[in-house]
Every structure is written in C-alpha cells, then in structure tokens.
C-alpha cells in the first residue's frame, strides 16, 4: 500500500511537469496545426536560463524565496521571448507554404538549439555560454525538507512543484476560457482565416500563444530541476517526445486534454516502471503513443475533424 502511494506521489509530480510541457505543444498545434518540434528544446533553454540567473544572483550561496521567484519569473520571460523569436523568424515566413516545410524548419530549430548549446563557450563574456555538452547542476534555491508520513517520502520540493504547476494550469485555464485573449485564441484555432476577417490580429494571437507555451515550458524546467537538478543541452529531446505523447493522448489541440494526458503519462510511467519493467521506462510513452494512434487517434478529449478540400 505504501509502495502504491509512493508511486502515486512520484507519478503525480512527474505528470504535472509533462502536463505543463504538453500544454505548449497543444496550444501551438491548436493555432498553427504545427507540431512545434523545438518545444522540448525551449524547455532546455528554460532550464539553462534559470541556471544562469540563479548563479548570477548567488541563489546557491544564500537561498531566499524572493530570489527563487525572480529566477523563476525571469527564465519564464526569457523563454517567452525565445518562443516569440522562433515563431517570428522561423515559422511565420513559412505559414502559407506546404506544411512539411514548417515541420522541417521546426526540426532544424530544435537541432540548432541542441547542438548550438553544446558548442564550447565563447570566451570573454563572463558566463560559460554556450554551456557545452557536460551536464551542470542546478543550485538549490531553498533548504530541502523531507517528511515521511506513514513511510512515504515527500520533500518540500515535491509540494512546491505540484502546487505551482496546478496553479499555473488553473491560471492558463482562466486565460483560455475567460479572457478576451483566450477567446481570440480559440477563434484562431477554430478557423484562423475567419478569425482574421472578424478583426482578430492573428499574428499577435499566434505570437502570444508561443510566448505562453514557452513560458510554461520554462516553468516546467525549473520545477523539474527541484527533483532532478541535472541540466544538459539534450535534456529536452526525450522529455519533449514524452510531452508530445501526453498531448496526443489527451487529444492534441485540447487544453484540458493536455493536462489529463500529462498526468496519465506520468502515472503510467511510474506504475509500469515501478512494478514491472524498470529499465524500459523511456519506452512506455512510445508504447502508449502507438496504442492511442491505433485505438483512438483523436485522443481522449479530441474530436476528429475531417479535412476539407
């Protein structure tokens, strides 16, 4: 029973991270019908942005909550800017071309970030940037406190991460379904051409969508760094694919679907690897994807919209 609860706790804490990244995939897919391959790498950039900010502010030496929040918000801002830049210079010029061109560009951007970050550092700028291929360790922003109620292991990092992630998702839910911007985003996702005719600035909505998704990815990176403090340039690859699976599982383009999909994937991974096949942990997402594609390609909450000619 205790083992079961422990897996539940771990699964939920990983699942919320997957959900935050999956939201970025699903929102961009909603408005552009593009699988943003570079999203996993935006997550990686978020982790490094946090790493540099934390080191610049000396978070590791003198931990304080205020500094942790500045690092958190700062790296969300950096990633939001990166997302907007990628959209502006790599995807917007190709929006009216064949879909395959944007997909190839997205792959190009993804590899540019991954391998650009692995280059040796530029000398003379004070910080080791690009970071190079060796993993770095994230400083702890506050002291780690662990509780063991009934033999379960829970640290304050798990709690903070879970609460922040849920809060962010609630805020997002509010933005998408209750605000003016959210309404125009849903309109663009439904039919961008008609939305443009109705006076919605489609370009701005798409740029904001990228900013929002990328900021969530940065948040996910920093929350995940609490339990796994290792950051390296290739960290976004596997996690990006997993979050994409979560988005497909929930129904790509569907915001609540991505949240449920992320949690479901986190739990599935934790339980399967905990009870049966521990070394195949990374394969579970892939197996799940194949099953979803075979059984219900539109995902849990997605509706299958036939393509019109």
């Amino acid at each position: 029973m205790i083992e079961f609860l422990q897996h539940l706790v771990n699964g939920l804490s990983v699942g919320t991270i997957y959900a935050l990244i999956a939201l970025g995939y699903t929102m961009v897919y909603g408005v552009l019908k593009l699988i943003n391959f570079a999203h996993g790498d935006v997550y990686m950039v978020g982790a490094f942005a946090g790493f540099y900010l934390a080191n610049a502010m000396g978070v590791g030496g003198t931990p304080s909550l205020a500094r942790a929040i500045i690092v958190f918000v700062g790296s969300m801002g950096i990633c939001a800017a990166l997302g907007v830049l990628i959209e502006r210079f790599a995807y917007r010029p190709l929006r009216h071309r064949a879909r395959l061109t944007s997909l190839i560009t997205a792959i190009g951007v993804s590899f540019l970030l991954e391998y650009g970050f692995q280059l040796p550092s530029i000398p003379g700028i004070g910080i080791p940037f690009p970071p190079g291929p060796t993993p770095r360790f994230f400083p702890e922003p506050f002291a780690r406190v662990a509780w063991e109620p009934f033999g379960l292991y829970i640290s304050n990092y798990d709690v903070v991460s879970f609460v922040t992630a849920v809060a962010l998702m609630l805020i997002l839910q509010y933005i998408v379904y209750r605000t003016r911007f959210g309404t125009s985003m849903r309109a663009v996702s439904f039919d961008s051409q008609v939305a443009g005719l109705m006076g919605i600035n489609v370009n701005r909505v798409i740029a904001y969508t990228f900013a929002l998704g990328s900021a969530l990815a940065a948040a996910a990176a920093l929350l995940f760094a609490g339990s796994r403090p290792k950051v390296d340039p290739l960290m976004g690859l596997a996690l990006g694919v997993k979050a994409f699976v979560a988005a497909v599982f929930g129904g790509i383009g569907n915001v609540p679907g991505a949240m449920v999909g992320g949690l479901a994937l986190g739990l599935a991974e934790e339980f399967v690897s905990g009870y049966a096949l521990s070394s195949y942990r990374d394969g579970i997402a892939f197996a799940l994807l194949i099953i979803v594609l075979l059984v219900r390609p539109a995902g849990l909450f997605g509706t299958f919209r036939p393509e019109k000619v």
Binding site: L34, I35, F37, A90, P93, L94, R97, A98, R99, L100, T101, S102, L103, I104, T105, I107, G108, V109, S110, F111, L112, E114, Y115, G116, Q118, L119, P120, L237, A238, V241, F244, V245, V248, S279, Y280, D282, G283, A285, F286, L289, I290, L293, L294, P297, E307, V309
Partner: protein, 330 residues
C-alpha cells in the same frame, strides 16, 4: 522478345556495375575505399529515405533506427556463422554467401520493424510519423542497451570485414534502380498522387494508407541493408552508430538534394559525405551547420537543389529528351 528485354533491363545496371566496382576496388587505396564505401552507404540511406520523404510526401526522421535493426540482425548472423563453412563451397565463397544471407535477413527484419512503426502512424496525417519515427529511433537504442544478447551499450565487436566496394556498389545500384523503377510504376504514381494531394488521391480510389505503409516498408528494408553494410565496414555494431544524429544527417541529404529527386539524393549524399571527410577537424560544428542548412533551405529554397526533377531534366542530354517524351504518351 519482351520477357528477355525486361530481364535485360533489370540486370543491365548490375552487369555494368560489377566490372566497374571491381576495377575501382583494385585501384583505390585502403583509406580511400573506406571513404567511398561510407559514401555509398549514405547514398543507399538517402535514396531509400527519399521514397518516404520525397515520393510519398511523408516525413520520417528515424531512418537510422531501421538501419540499426538491419545491422544487428546481419551482425548476429555473421558472428554466429563465422568459422562455419557451407558444404561444397570454399571458405571465401562461403563467407560471401553468409554475408548475402545476413544482409537479406537484415532487410527483412528492418522491413518488419517498418511495418510495425508505419502501420499505426501512417493512418494519420504525416506529422505523426515524424514524432513516432523519432521516438522509435530512441526506443531502439533503449532496447539494445537493455538487451545482453545484443551486447548492450558496448555492442557487438569483432565482426568480419566483409563489406567491399563491390558489395556497396551493388547495394547502391539495387537501391537506385528500385527507386527509379518504383516511380515509374503504378505504385509510384499512387505515391506521387499522395504527395501532391492526399485527399484528392483518396477520392480517386488510391488506398492511401496501404501505399504509404508499403513505401515505408520498402524504405526501411533498404535502410536495413545500409545498416548491415555499415557494421561490416567498421567491424563494430553499437547503438552509437545509429543515433538520431545519423537520421538527421540522412534527412539533410534528402532535403538538400530535393525531395522526390533520386539523382538529387545521390549527388547531395556524395557531396556531403566527401565534404564531411574534409571537415573532420570541425566535427562539433557539424550538427549546427546541418540544422542551419535545414532552416535556411526551407526559408529560401524549400525544394532543395533539384526539386522533384532528375539531373537529366536540368542538364538536357540529346538522347534523353526523346525518351522522356515517349514515356508520357501511353
């Protein structure tokens, strides 16, 4: 006379290639022959990927995963049969026969892997295939690293050095003639129709999923062939030779040459392979260059060098023009 002509047309490229390759083999120094063989393997990979990414308009980025399947199958067979001699054959001939069996077995297992991966993802729109193949590439690595039978992360070492210029030459010819003849066939026309407009093709009665899966299976089989040839060149079979970096390399070759152009793939695979040989010192910038090349190509010339045309459509040869016109009439 007709059957004879058909047989001759299929066999002719091989009949021409065998003496050419043998001549090349005797001329080249060992160092150069490794470079030539590696380039030939890249040509096989690029041309076979072009069947999926170029002709069919889908987008696979896990080609190295299928090469790994073929490579491990072939490596397992040659190591198991090493030292055994088929009755009635001399040692040298027996080794070659075993190698042929191993390569064919590698193609078959890679094709089966292609079927398993393609079946669910090709029922949907193209971009799912990209993610699924990327995931498959990673999964293959995870499975190999967890399987003691396949040597885990260290791989299978001590493979016999069986790949020669002749074997690669034959592989290249087989791949190119497969691709060229596929495009001209009913199957190929269906694939091109899917690339141009999937909805319209389906409306015209093309079994889109069936054709897409078949194209994917064919491409995977030839990737398996390339994998089998590669590990018997470097005499070592590790998951490191088949990472997604390799897959992206092949994708860049296809995109640069022009998606849908067989000669384009051949030219860009050769150019990139030889260029890489010259750029050994700046190895770490290679992937950065590749990704920049992809982005810039898409922004400025998304068709690649040749587009869907072949080299003889661009450099018009006098005899060729007539042949092309004849092809259109029926």
């Amino acid at each position: 006379m007709r059957p004879l002509r058909i047989v001759l047309r299929s066999a002719l490229p091989f009949l021409i290639a065998i003496p050419l390759c043998l001549a090349l083999q005797s001329v080249l120094s060992p160092g150069w022959s490794i470079i030539v063989i590696a380039a030939g393997i890249n040509v096989i990979l690029a041309v076979s990927l072009n069947v999926v990414n170029g002709f069919t308009g889908q987008f696979s980025i896990g080609h190295a995963g299928f090469a790994a399947v073929g490579a491990y199958t072939a490596a397992k067979i040659t190591t198991a049969m090493h030292g055994l001699q088929i009755v009635g054959l001399s040692a040298g001939v027996s080794d070659q026969v075993v190698f042929l069996i191993a390569l064919v077995a590698g193609m078959i297992t890679a094709a089966m892997a292609g079927f398993l991966v393609g079946m669910p993802s090709l029922r949907l729109r193209g971009d799912y295939l990209a993610i699924v193949t990327l995931g498959f590439n990673e999964i293959i690595r995870v499975i190999i690293e967890n399987t003691p039978f396949l040597g885990q992360a260290t791989g299978i070492s001590g493979l016999p050095r069986l790949t020669t210029v002749l074997w690669v030459g034959l592989g290249v010819i087989a791949t190119i003639s497969m691709a060229r003849r596929l495009v001209g066939s009913t199957h190929g026309r269906a694939l091109l129709a899917i690339r141009e407009d999937e909805v319209a093709a389906e409306a015209m009665g093309v079994d889109t999923t069936g054709y897409k899966v078949r194209a994917f299976v064919i491409a995977s089989a030839f990737a398996g062939l390339a994998g089998g040839l590669l590990v018997h060149l470097i005499q070592l079979c590790t998951p490191r030779s088949f990472t997604f970096v390799k897959s992206i390399e092949v994708v860049v070759m296809v995109v640069l040459g022009g998606m849908g152009s067989v000669t384009g793939s051949v030219v860009s695979a050769l150019v990139l392979s030889f260029a890489l040989e010259g750029l050994r010192e700046v190895q770490q910038y290679r992937m950065v260059l590749y990704s920049l090349l992809l982005i810039v190509l898409m922004l400025t010339r998304p068709t690649g060098l040749f587009g869907t045309r072949e080299i003889w459509d661009i450099i018009k040869l006098p005899g060729r023009r007539k042949a092309a016109r004849v092809e259109v009439t029926p």
